[in-house]
């Protein structure tokens, strides 16, 4: 192995690291370690001048390894690898030490944080000496795309991709397209007709030459990787069909919360307590009537059913407040002499036109009353006194603190959104994860909300988190753009940190084959050794830690590299002690 000439760069990250870690001291101490040719620090390593600094040093000092101590490698590992590449070094001759998310941001003792930084960098330096150059690999891309879910998000994505001339397979669980929006009457805030919007979209989707819709179809196991996926579906006529595609867009949406879980609202017991979705269906008939066929005189709307409550779901479902305002407006138009009560925990009317909707609704003689979501939820009872309206809502009004009664003929529960019960199966099928609220997890909540950590799989619409139509459509089109960009590139880079077998050391025990979850290893009966299919290998490293002879090694996470990291780390720890 050539002698390592390591350049170490410690980042201030403005004040984020420097506030808690003595960056200068770290630079100084690390500079004294063997093989460290250059040890510098700079305010923002990821910036252009920061990257320039590394590039110049590589040339000037003939560096063959680089270590950057800064933020999490999950953020900038790729950035710095590109710097090495541009300067002529293999991008894998690089290691990062995380002294921000896992050091300066989580400790409040400067001395301890600095010591930890020094040890982590020492570990990285020790490790990087054993890094080897790895070649990038690319594979071709199947230009077809699979879209799972035929709601507004799914159709938007499918249309966007298909309009660019690429094939789309659209899987829909039910027997018709449209998803939740097919229940809606008018949309907020401008009160456009949902039917008209949807009708156009559905017609375009069904008639599109590049979109093939599969009804009553769910997704089961998907095999492969980006550019090369494959799955088998069971379509209508119970025939099996194998589909191949290069990218997947998951648009499976959410379902309404089951209001019967909130016992005190009486849903399921009292006939005129209905959910917002049921009320939309009622609005579509054009006539608002109670179950008995009467015109309601007192109508109450209750917000946050099943949302913002640790007993059910802690999150806010984002759209219900605006829908409630829309309902209040529509009720006032349809029943001008009625009494309308809006019981809210908070009024969240953000976004274009929504505050204006709230202000306009506030002029329509609707009584807005606030309750405390944490402490006393309203209680709905059937009234028994003659002459009383059919239902009474017992309710602690937050601002006055008084316990009040509200008469009601009809009560609309603004139910939140929650995940479908089969969301875990979908996640498994395509290889993505779900969070504690059972929404799919995006790659980065701020900077990459439609991609996932699995290349080639995108999540759009409600299944990524509750949102309204404009946001769902925006995400759908964003994912479609990403898919089209990938397809246009023609090929895509795949994982290089795969496993490889040293045939001399392999004893043919086949333990590695038994543990590989991707069946990426097969046994060569002639040579009596294991052989890795680097296209299927995902680089998890399970085989590496199973092999009794150390014949199989996980590239870039070899035993030697990790052991030396432990070594460098601990030697510095004991030295400083």
């Amino acid at each position: 192995m050539e002698e390592a000439r390591i350049g170490v760069y410690v980042c201030w990250c403005g004040n984020n690291i420097a506030k808690m870690v003595d960056v200068e001291l770290v630079t100084e101490l690390i500079g004294k370690l063997p093989h460290v040719v250059v040890s510098k620090n700079y305010k923002y390593m990821c910036s252009d001048p920061g990257q320039e600094l590394i590039a110049e040093d590589i040339l000037e000092h003939n560096l063959n390894r680089v270590v950057v101590a800064a933020c999490s490698p999950r953020i900038h590992e790729l950035t710095f690898r590109k710097v090495l590449e541009k300067s002529g070094l293999n991008p894998y001759l690089f290691e990062m030490a995380n002294i921000r998310e896992q050091d300066s941001w989580v400790h409040d003792n400067r001395e301890a944080a600095t010591r930890k930084a020094v040890e982590l960098v020492a570990g990285a330096i020790s490790r990087v000496q054993y890094h080897e150059p790895l070649d990038k690999r690319s594979v071709g891309i199947n230009p077809a795309t699979l879209v799972i879910g035929g709601g507004v998000a799914g159709m938007s994505a499918a249309l966007e991709v298909a309009n660019a001339g690429r094939e789309v397979y659209l899987l829909e669980k039910t027997e018709q397209l449209g998803g939740m929006v097919s229940h809606f009457d008018l949309t907020f805030p401008y009160l456009y007709d949902a039917d008209k919007m949807l009708e156009v979209m559905i017609r375009r989707t069904i008639n599109h030459p590049h979109i093939k819709v599969f009804y009553n179809t769910t997704i089961s196991e998907v095999h492969g990787y980006i550019g090369n996926f494959e799955t088998t579906i069971q379509s209508d006529s119970n025939q099996e069909q194998t589909l191949t595609f290069g990218n997947i867009i998951v648009a499976t949406g959410l379902r309404p919360f089951d209001a019967s879980r909130v016992g005190q609202y009486g849903y399921g017991r009292l006939p005129n307590v209905i959910t917002s979705v049921e009320f939309e269906d009622l609005l579509r008939t054009g006539q608002v009537r109670t179950k008995e066929g009467n015109i309601p005189q007192n109508i109450a709307i209750i917000h946050c059913v099943g949302s913002r409550n640790t007993e059910f779901h802690e999150y806010c479902s984002r759209t219900c407040c605006q829908v409630a305002l829309k309902f209040a407006n529509q009720l006032r138009s349809l029943l001008p002499d009625s009494n309308i009560y809006d019981l809210y925990a908070d009024m969240r009317a953000f976004g274009k036109g929504c505050e204006e909707l709230y202000t306009a609704t506030s002029k329509k003689e609707i009584i807005f009353m606030m309750f405390d979501q944490q402490h006393e939820l309203p209680q709905i009872i059937k009234s028994v006194a003659p002459g009383d309206p059919p239902m009474l809502i017992f309710f602690r009004e937050k601002i006055s603190g008084l316990g009040l009664e509200i008469p009601a003929d009809m009560i609309i529960l603004m139910v939140g959104m929650e995940a479908h019960p089969d969301v875990k199966d979908i996640a498994h099928a395509v290889g993505i994860s779900i969070c504690s609220n059972a929404f799919f997890i995006e790659k980065h909540p701020k900077l990459d909300p439609v991609a996932t950590t699995t290349s080639g799989v995108y999540i759009v619409g409600n299944c990524q988190g509750p949102k309204g139509i404009p946001d769902s459509v925006a995400q759908a089109k964003a994912a479609a753009a990403r898919v089209l960009a990938t397809i246009n590139q023609g090929s895509v880079h795949v994982e290089v940190t795969t496993a490889e077998v040293n045939e001399t050391l392999c004893c043919g025990c086949q333990t590695c084959i038994m543990v590989c979850p991707y069946t990426a290893i097969h046994y060569d009966r002639e040579k009596k050794v294991s052989v890795v299919n680097e296209v299927l290998c995902k680089g998890c490293g399970t085989c590496g830690s199973t092999c009794p002879t150390g014949a199989i090694r996980s590239k870039h996470f070899t035993d030697q590299q990790i052991l030396s990291q432990i070594d460098g780390l601990m030697k510095m720890a004991l030295k400083i002690e």
Partner: protein, 142 residues
């Protein structure tokens, strides 16, 4: 002088390392005694890594991975769990207190749990005192 343990932790890239990063972006505070080594999957954690850590003087070793059923590579965490049980037995036989080796599942959204884990493990190791191997290594300077 107060005993400040050193805990070497192996965190899998997809869940636990991300969870630890989340604790950072949320500015949660925890004890500064852990040193993280990133692996792609908890299934990559070779027993030699664990023994090497103790050999070099670590007072505790922590392995974190995705929750069962959520492994990014399907089943790597199960393999890790099997290995972990064996490793526990082995280190006990070698004279290392089994409580010094710990396994916990941390998901990408569990920043708070990670912080609490480090605090509780640090406290536990503190009670156990410095590892005997460390004392030997230091005295003999080997």
């Amino acid at each position: 002088m107060e005993f400040n343990p050193t805990i070497v932790a192996f965190l899998c890239n997809w869940c636990s390392y991300t969870g630890a990063d989340l604790a950072g972006t949320s500015r949660m505070k925890y004890k500064p005694n852990v040193r993280v080594i990133r692996v792609m999957c908890s299934g990559r954690v070779d027993p030699t890594f664990v023994y090497k850590s103790f050999r070099e003087g670590a007072d505790g070793v922590l392995i974190c991975g995705c929750h069962p059923g959520d492994c990014h590579y399907q089943e790597g965490n199960y393999k890790c769990l099997r290995r972990f049980k064996l490793m526990k037995k082995y280190i006990t036989q070698m004279g290392i207190e089994p409580a010094r080796l710990h396994l916990e599942w941390i998901s990408a959204s569990e920043g708070k749990q990670f912080a609490e884990l480090i605090d509780s493990m640090t406290a536990r190791i503190k009670e156990l005192g410095p590892s005997k191997i460390k004392t030997v290594v230091e005295t003999l300077a080997i």
